[in-house]
């Protein structure tokens, strides 16, 4: 499956599938934060690999990146990006504490953010798996708090091995008062993209 050859119906299908997955993820996050979490309409971003850091707000922007691998019938990568200030606000809510605007994240903060990543990815993949009738399992989440460019390059390795384009299904989610905002990216492995499209029934035309 070549990313450049995806047709409109296939892109729509990916968007729709992701929308349902993110719906479940947003519900889970709403319960966790005790606030309603909203979703933007998902976008299927097909772009040159060199432009990906710009999509994350610029290569030097400080972000929290939570990364998981998708294992099971289809494989891929999930990356959640929270701008620094949003990650801190989310931690303030989760850990019921006063603002701590220090430099590095504490062990507890890292652990809390990974758990958020785990809950979001699990809810997303459960919904996706049920719909596609396949088993999708998230790996243990890992976290990096650094420049967006540095956080994302590792995630692009699989895509870069086979081409110069990246395909990311992106959904932005935000809590009522815009206190918490993040981006959820699904990057299917190119062979798995075919499996996913076949399962939705849009592989051919």
């Amino acid at each position: 499956m070549r990313i450049a050859n995806l047709n409109e119906a296939q892109i729509d299908a990916l968007r729709e599938v992701s929308n349902i997955g993110m719906g479940h993820a947003a519900t889970a996050l709403s319960q966790l934060l005790g606030k309603t979490v909203h979703l933007q309409v998902p976008q299927v971003l097909i772009t040159d690999i060199s432009k990906v850091p710009e999509l994350l707000g610029g290569a030097e922007k400080m972000v929290v990146g939570i990364y998981l691998q998708v294992l099971g019938s289809a494989r891929g990568n999930i990356l959640m990006i929270f701008p620094r200030e949003n990650a801190i606000r989310m931690l303030d809510k989760l850990l019921s504490r006063e603002n701590t605007r220090g430099g590095l994240l504490s062990e507890l903060e890292v652990s809390a953010l990974k758990e958020v990543g785990n809950i979001l990815a699990s809810a997303y993949l459960n919904a996706l798996g049920a719909m596609l009738k396949m088993t999708l399992i998230p790996s243990v989440p890992v976290l990096s708090f650094d420049m967006a460019g540095a956080v994302v390059d590792y995630v692009l390795v699989d895509l870069a091995e086979v081409g110069d384009l990246s395909l990311m299904v992106e959904t932005e989610f935000f809590e009522d008062e815009e206190q918490v905002k993040g981006h959820f990216f699904l990057l299917p492995d190119p062979p798995s993209l075919q499996i996913i499209l076949e399962s939705i029934g849009v592989l051919h035309g």
Binding site: I49, A59, G103, V142, M147, D153, Y154, L156, A160, D164
Partner: protein, 162 residues
């Protein structure tokens, strides 16, 4: 005022003196600078993958591969009048951004990028004068063609010049 050239992920660029070649946010990627101190001409690449394989030469962004990027930069610098035997190299990056447990999935891609660069440079007979690699943090790199110095900036770390 030195002219500034920004190099994106999987890209490379050239500058004569005075010039600054800059690339942002290297994680497991590496920034490799080649430099001819006599002509004060240099090149910087931001590479993502350690080694090219069969058929990859045909992709547009050859510079995403560490080995191919070095080959291309050497060829272009020589074409621009640099002497291959005068070329020297510096590199930065090759971090392991996520927990070490993740290395098992793909191997330590940062370290493999650094190893591939060293092997390719050795193949060309180009000395690696200095490097700032490894760790678990991102780096932004500026290469100054007037001095041949590489300035490395990281968040939460002091800047460094190699």
């Amino acid at each position: 005022m030195a002219e500034l050239t920004i190099i994106g992920l999987s890209e490379y660029g050239f500058a004569s003196s005075p010039g600054v070649l800059m690339t942002y946010g290297l994680g497991s990627c590496i920034g490799i600078a080649l430099y001819d101190p006599e002509l004060r001409m240099g090149s910087l690449a931001h590479t993502l993958l350690p080694v090219s394989h069969e058929g990859t030469q045909s992709t547009v962004k050859s510079a995403k591969f560490t080995d191919l990027a070095i080959d291309i930069m050497v060829e272009e610098l020589v074409k621009s009048g640099c002497a291959k035997e005068r070329l020297v190299a510096k590199l930065a990056g090759g971090a392991s951004m996520f927990d070490s447990q993740y290395r098992s999935f793909r191997g330590d891609i940062g370290q493999r990028n650094v190893d591939s660069a060293k092997k390719t440079l050795a193949g060309h007979g180009i000395p690696l004068l200095a490097e700032d690699s490894g760790g678990d943090y991102g780096r932004t790199v500026e290469f100054h063609t007037s001095s041949g110095l590489m300035l490395i900036k990281a968040i939460q770390k002091p800047s460094k010049t190699i």
